[in-house]
Structure formats: C-alpha cells, structure tokens
Amino acid sequence: MSDRITGTLIWYAMICEREVWLMAHEIEPDRDDARLEWGRFLGEMSYPRSRKREISLSGMRLDVVERRGTRLVVGEIKASSRFVEATRMQMLFYLWRLREMGVEAEGELRFPEERRRERVVLDVDAEARLAEVLARVETILEQPLPPAAKRIRYCRACAYREFCWSDEED
C-alpha cells in the first residue's frame, strides 16, 4: 500500500474525491478559512483535564492517546458529527495502521461541542469496508488529473470552494 495515504485522505475519500487528489498533491486548502481555524482551536482547547497527548506517526496524527486499564484508546476530536461516517473510517484507518505496527487499540470519536463520544472497533466487517476505501484512494492518486469538481452539499462549507469554483462561466 502506498504510504502517501493518510487519515485525512481517508476522511476526504468519504466526502469528496477531488479533495483527496488535491490534498495528496500538497495543494492545501485556504488556511485562513474560518471553519478550519475553528477545528484547530477546538482540538487544542478541548478536554483540558485529560492527559491527552497528540502523537504523530507516519500518515496519522492522533489527537488523543490514553491508556485505560489494559486498553489503549486513541481519540479523534471533531467539531461536529456531521460527517460521522467519514470520521469512523478515518479512525478505522488509524486502528488498522496501529495493528500493522503490532499495537491493538480501540478508537473513540469525540465531539466536544455535542458532548458526545462514540466507540470504534476494528472488527472483520469494518476491516472489509476500510479495504474498499483504501483501494478507492489508491485509484484516485494514480490519476494524472484531479477528479472534476462536482457541486455537492459539502461545497458550501469547504475550504477548497474558491479553488474549485473560481471560474466565472460555471
């Protein structure tokens, strides 16, 4: 598997394939975008009492890593559960990567603004779903051009919206 694949790419693959390609080519979205800033801020400021540590491994940045008894829990902080399926997949990717490194862990999605957490486990069924997404990402990355821009609901809130829709005639 290509080591260009990251958790973020998996997340995007669930929402917009064009984003996957752009991200993988280091064409990052507008960093001044208010929503991105909000997400960063939330990640930094949430759960001040937990002994969370951000850990960077190749292709993944784990927002929270905690040991609970014998279990290892990795957490991902998101501003909203709007794209919960994408967030689950991102977490499954982390768990799968960790397993490859010989670390068994379970995941926890955290939505501080909704005071909500969700447990994620990498079982056989989940692994099959992840494999499908991984294959899809590989295919996207092989393409010489980004997948064409398509108007979806997410465009309105996307930091790439001005990049994708900068042409006047559309």
Binding site: E26, E28, S166, E169
Partner: protein, 330 residues
Amino acid sequence: MGQRLYVLSSGRLRRQQNTLVLETDEGKRFFPVEQVDEIHVFGEIDLNKRLLSFLTQQRIPVHFYNYHGYYIGTYYPREHYNSGYMILRQAEYYLDECKRLDLARRFVDGALFNLYKVVRYYRNRGKPLENVESSIESHRSRLDDLHDIAALMQAEGQAREAYYSAFDIILDDPDFAFEQRSRRPPRNRINALISFGNSLLYTAVLSEIYHTHLDPRIGFLHATNFRRFSLNLDVAEIFKPALVDRVIFSLVAKKQIQSRDFSEELEGLYLNDRGRRVFLEAWEKRLASTFRHRGLRRNVSYRRAIRLELYKIEKHLMGEKPYTPFHLRW
C-alpha cells in the same frame, strides 16, 4: 478576514508581546496581529529582526515604498503554502516555449479586453472614443498571430498607448492632462497617479500569491530572472483597468484629488502625504467592493477576485482547465 496596515508616518514598528506597535511622535498605536494580513510601509520606519521573525511566524508580508511612493521591495516570509507538485508545473509551463507563450497570450488578451471595456463604457456615455476602441480591438485580434513574448509585450504596449490617449478625453480636466506616459519620474499628475496605483496593485497581487501555491518569481509574460517577483506583474495587467484606472477616474472626476495633493521634486511630480491618504482610502474601498461571481454563486470582492484568478492559473498549470482571464462586466 484581516486588514492591511498602511504606515504613512515615520517612527518605529515593533513587536510588543503579541501585538504590533507603531511608535511615532504622536504616541503609540497598537494593532492586534491577528487582524493584520499585510503591511505597507511608506514612512521612514525603524524595525528589527525580532519584528521580522514575529511577522514570519504570523505570515505577514511587508511591502516597502520609497520616499516618492515607489515600490522598493517586499519582506516575503518563508513560504507557507508549499507544493512541490505545483512549483514543478509552474516551471514546466515556463520552460516549454509553447505553453509559456499560450499563457502569456492569455494574460495580454485579458488585459486588452478589460482596456476595451473601460473605453467602451465611456464611449457609451458619449465620449468620442471610436478610434481608441477600434485600435485596442485590432491589437487584441492579432494576438493569435504573435509567436514570441516580445511581440506580445509590444502589442500590449501599443494597445495601452492607444488607451492612454483616451485619458484626456475621459477626464477632460486641464489639471490632469495626460500628454504621454512618463514613469521615472512621472512628469505630471496623472502619471503620478498611475504609477502610485500600479505599485499598489503589484503588491496587492503579490500578497494574494503568498496565499497560494504559486511561486511569485516565475512569471510568463514578464521575464523571470528568479531574483525579482514577476508573476504578480502578469496578473496585475488583467486588473489595472478595473482597479487602478477606475480609482483614478473617480478621484479626479469627483475632485477628491486636486493639484494641491501633489508636490514637485527633481523634475517629477508626486502625490504628497494627503494625496496618498486619499488615494489609499479609495483604493481600499475599490478592492473591497463586490460583484456577483457566477462560479461561486455569491458576491466576491475585487481583492478576492485576484485570489480566484490565481486559483484559475493553478488549475491551468495542473492541466485541468485552460485559464480564462477575469473580464470586466460593465
């Protein structure tokens, strides 16, 4: 969304904890750093390395102008958007003669179209500009037959010359007679306004480039020598008629800028302090004014339109979509 800080007075600009402070004879003024996107320095300013590292960390470019308001240079903080992919594509389009020519032609075509639009606008208001209009059109129509950059530049220059001949007819004000283009030094008031406005546009485009993955040193129409910024000059051509000239026409017509706003020095004429303030205010207003963007389906400011133009160029370089320049719609 941040603001631009224009420093016209003299003094000391420094970092004080997490804010910017301008110390002048009149006292201290504080500028919260999160609200500043770029700084333009016209006055005599002392600054130190501590300030520069702070500005790098905050990703704020600083543009410097000399005593006469001419652009000197930019403190361009370490690039914060970096895409090896995009830089290679940009270099590829520069090195490939055909690709470079095609892109350069698109810039000239966009520039000439917008010149034509301005002339058309005033013609529709009864100004006798038929000759100017047809001259610009004829230059525009022969662009496809030009096969080197020098010829494109020349066509652009000739179209612009015709366009400038329209200024006296449009402005119709003896205090602001155009006569001919004179740069260094500008020999009359209208030339001083054009030079000042163009400097502001070059830096505005440069600031926007800083927020993209493009390398400002690789221009296509204007020669690259890897020491100077040139991509901003290419893109500025498209926007000069819409932004700079429009501000000038409006300031002169409304008599917001008058002969007393200039001072004469070393054979040249320059905007004085008050004149610069008036110009900058109108300039900011122009950049902030909005129009309906069909692709984004909402209103965008002209400043944003510059950014969008750069995104379109990125897509051209990626081979995704041929670049079509911004068109004035009047």
